[in-house]
């Protein structure tokens, strides 16, 4: 049976073409996503901001410096200080994503507590950029508040303590500059520790592994389709009649699928190595075990369900709904606690957890017993499926 299946797959040119397309798609996806995100973008690709500064005070300098001296901004955002008309025109032409307009006498108005509004105009052309800019601007308002409150209270306290207006104003000017300088050198508040750990779950590897899981799932689904076809054409019943048990037939299908998947996974590992991405052997083992489990589940569906259309509906829903609820489409770390509890009941979640543990070299910590248990569960499922199949009776050609 196994040799027959191998012969058939080797001779199926269409299937090979599809497999090559799938592998090429995964490879291209990985290659496209491999670029280093931290690199500064070319000027024309950055988010563009214009600043119109009608005020020449230190307060307005603080606002402009927040952009010009921020490493994040200078690598991802191009900033332009310009005349009002030129900035308005560039914004209207869609060349700028945002502009900030600091009014004349902004600093004087702050001292007298009559806030002249700093106008921030954001384009809604791109929602993601709009949200990013709005959030950053809101966080910068906190800096201005802190400086303003403390400058004004010091001035009041000094006046209340009997200091002359002129002396208080001079001291206040001095402290204003000090506080603003402090705000601009905010980076010194922090000590950065970059933690380099192999196990960090990043989004791009996350989705590459999820794509591998889904592809394995669809190969397993096709294996089930093959069993259904053989069932409907009477091949399985004829094999039963010559003494081959249903369990044996299902096991052969699983073995065949597992062998094919291991070859594909090794090709995937080699392809990724060509891109400079190392995939440890333990991760390949996890993937092949998951592939085997998916095969067992799909074959169980194929054996238990009479109609091909039902089988397709159930298996497709199992895969995609399983990926959604199992934290594969919206990553499990972004799910709510309730949803994560549900995710823990699904193979997709455990596949992702185990594969990232394997990447971190923590898999030996997961006892090999666990893998054996998964295999045993797969075999148990097949046994149950075979029993259901043999009890189901002889309807073969009808209701296909």
């Amino acid at each position: 049976m196994l040799i027959n299946d191998i012969k058939r797959i080797v001779q199926n040119k269409r299937l090979w073409a599809v497999l090559l397309v799938c592998l090429a798609a995964v490879w291209l996806l990985a290659r496209g996503m491999q670029g280093d995100n931290a690199e500064a973008l070319p000027e024309k690709e950055r988010v563009a901001i214009g600043i119109i500064n009608h005020d020449t005070s230190i307060y307005s300098k603080m606002i402009t410096s927040m952009y010009l001296e921020n490493g994040l901004f200078t690598s991802y955002v191009s900033i332009e200080l310009g005349e009002a008309d030129a900035v308005y025109k560039r914004f209207a032409d869609g060349e700028l994503d945002m502009y900030v307009e600091i009014p004349e006498d902004f600093a004087v108005s702050m001292e007298s507590l009559e806030h002249l509004p700093v106008q921030v105009v954001i384009s809604t052309r791109n929602t993601a950029i709009e949200l990013m800019l709005k959030n950053l601007m809101e966080s910068y308002a906190g800096f201005i508040n802190a400086v303003e409150v403390n400058c004004v209270s010091l001035y009041d306290v000094m006046r209340d303590s009997g200091m002359s207006r002129e002396a208080a104003r001079k001291t206040n000017e001095k402290i204003s500059i000090l506080l603003i300088m402090q705000a601009l050198s905010r980076d010194e508040f922090f000590k950065e520790v970059v933690t380099e750990h192999e196990s960090f779950v990043k989004l791009i590897p996350f989705y590459i592994h999820e794509a591998v899981f889904l592809l394995m799932g669809f190969f397993a689904l096709l294996c089930g389709v093959r069993f259904q076809k053989e069932h409907h054409s009477g091949i399985v019943r004829r094999l039963n009649a010559v003494g081959k048990s249903s369990f044996l037939i299902l096991s052969e299908k699983l073995l065949f699928l597992e062998g094919g998947m291991i070859l594909l996974l090794l090709a995937f590992k080699a392809g990724m190595a060509a891109l400079g991405v190392y995939i440890p052997m333990s991760a390949v083992v996890v993937m092949s075990v998951a592939g085997g489990d998916l095969g067992a589940i799909m074959l169980t569906f194929a054996a238990c369900v009479q109609k091909m259309q039902n089988y397709l509906l159930i298996s497709n829903m199992f895969l995609l709904l399983g990926a959604v609820l199992g934290g594969g489409i919206i990553p499990y770390m972004y799910l709510s606690e309730h949803m994560e509890r549900v995710a823990k009941c699904l193979p997709n979640y455990w596949f992702l957890k185990a594969v990232f543990a394997a990447h971190a070299g923590e898999l030996p910590g997961y006892p090999g017993l666990l893998l054996l248990l998964i295999f045993a569960a797969a075999a148990g499922l097949l046994g149950a499926a075979a029993w259901v199949y043999s009890r189901r009776g002889g309807r073969v050609y009808e209701n296909a």
Partner: protein
């Protein structure tokens, strides 16, 4: 009239095939329940999950450090987990946290002494720019304490006779009173302008998460259509369609009847999605438009899968092609969310991918 009869016959046949099969009904029911659970939970938690998840380790028991922690917890743009470094580090390794802020034990003491260097240790992954944004947000909250200490130091440095009136506590109390005064509530004045220069309402932070939920729902709806249209391939394989042609069933009637059937099959899931998305975002008034958009998307996908069913030779190739389309369209949908941020502009054909069109319209309705 004959055409209408043909459409109705094909539609009723498709519906009977779907509804009379107990297994199909059961799977639909189960899928609808799971879909309802997933969509309602994802939309309900959208606000919270849209914040940046960070961890805080507070090594200090001084009130100033406790207050800073509280202020950061209350920030709507952050989702804060407080704990010890080992636990939080494990969560960051698992991707649950973007960075960890560790407040040193002598935080307040150092600020009072005018030592501002390395008050907080930030643990983050390599090349993660989000940490820069988070430190800016945290610095905004720390600035008040730093400025207060600096201004008081200046007050203390005044010559005798000009600094005796206020003790430190009195000075702090006065500044705190000023801080809570609405006059000091500085904020930028935001306006949001669309491509035509018209002023718009700003977008909520949760929109990004809601878009991800919509992109997921689009994949599930497409999957449903893939499964429904598999029936057409099977009928073709078994020769049923050829036989039905003998009954003078026209191609147009067959197509429209099948599409109507597929749309009816998708109504329940579309209604669940539209209700969860609109109620979750507090936009009940766009429920009708959202439902219509979702149904149109379902029809579009069913037409694509119907064409696949017609041109592909068998079930196996249909399943492979359908799955590839589903994954490619789904990936395009997700990528279109980050266009201009993580990915530069996509080629023009991207706009015609059904998932991108669907997501674009959903975004319009939710904003």
């Amino acid at each position: 009239m004959k055409m209408l009869n043909g459409i109705m016959t094909q539609f009723l046949l498709r519906m009977k095939l779907l509804c009379r099969d107990r297994m199909t009904v059961f799977v639909f029911f189960l899928a609808a329940i799971s879909f309802l659970y997933g969509m309602s939970d994802l939309n309900r938690e959208a606000e919270e999950r849209s914040s940046i998840p960070i961890g805080i380790v507070n090594l200090s028991d001084e009130p100033m450090a406790q207050e800073l922690t509280q202020r950061l917890i209350q920030m709507p743009s952050l989702h804060v987990t407080v704990g010890d470094l080992d636990t939080l580090m494990a969560r960051m390794e698992d991707g649950y946290l973007r960075c960890i802020l560790e407040i040193r034990e002598d935080y307040a003491e150092r600020i009072e002494k005018g030592k501002y260097k390395e008050l907080i240790t930030v643990y983050h992954q390599e090349n993660d720019n989000v940490a820069t944004v988070i430190t800016d947000i945290a610095a905004g909250e720390m600035m008040y304490d730093v400025c207060l200490a600096r201004a008081y130091a200046e007050y203390e440095a005044l010559p005798p006779g000009e600094k005796e009136k206020y003790t430190r506590e009195q000075y702090e109390a006065y500044t705190e009173a000023m801080r809570s005064d609405v006059k000091f509530d500085f904020a930028f004045r935001f306006s949001f302008v669309d491509t035509e220069g018209k002023e718009q309402k700003g977008t909520e932070n949760s929109l990004f998460y809601r878009q991800a939920v919509a992109a997921t729902a689009a994949m599930l709806l497409a999957m449903l259509q893939l499964s429904i249209m598999a029936g057409v391939v099977m009928e073709k394989e078994q020769g049923i369609l050829r036989r039905r042609r003998l009954t003078a069933l026209g191609m147009a009637a067959e197509t429209v009847g099948n599409l109507l059937g597929a749309m009816t099959g998708a109504i329940l899931l579309a209604a669940i999605f539209a209700a969860c998305a609109c109620f979750g975002a507090g936009k009940t008034e766009v429920f009708g438009a959202m439902l219509w958009t979702t149904l149109l998307f379902s029809i579009m996908m069913s037409l694509i899968y119907f064409i696949c069913a017609k041109i592909l030779p068998g079930l196996q190739s249909y399943q492979i092609c359908g799955t590839l389309l589903l994954l490619v369209f789904g990936a395009c949908g997700f990528c279109s969310m980050v266009e201009g941020v993580l990915i530069d502009e996509f080629p023009a054909w991207f706009d015609y991918v059904p998932n991108c069109m669907f997501l674009h319209r959903v975004t319009e309705l939710l904003t």
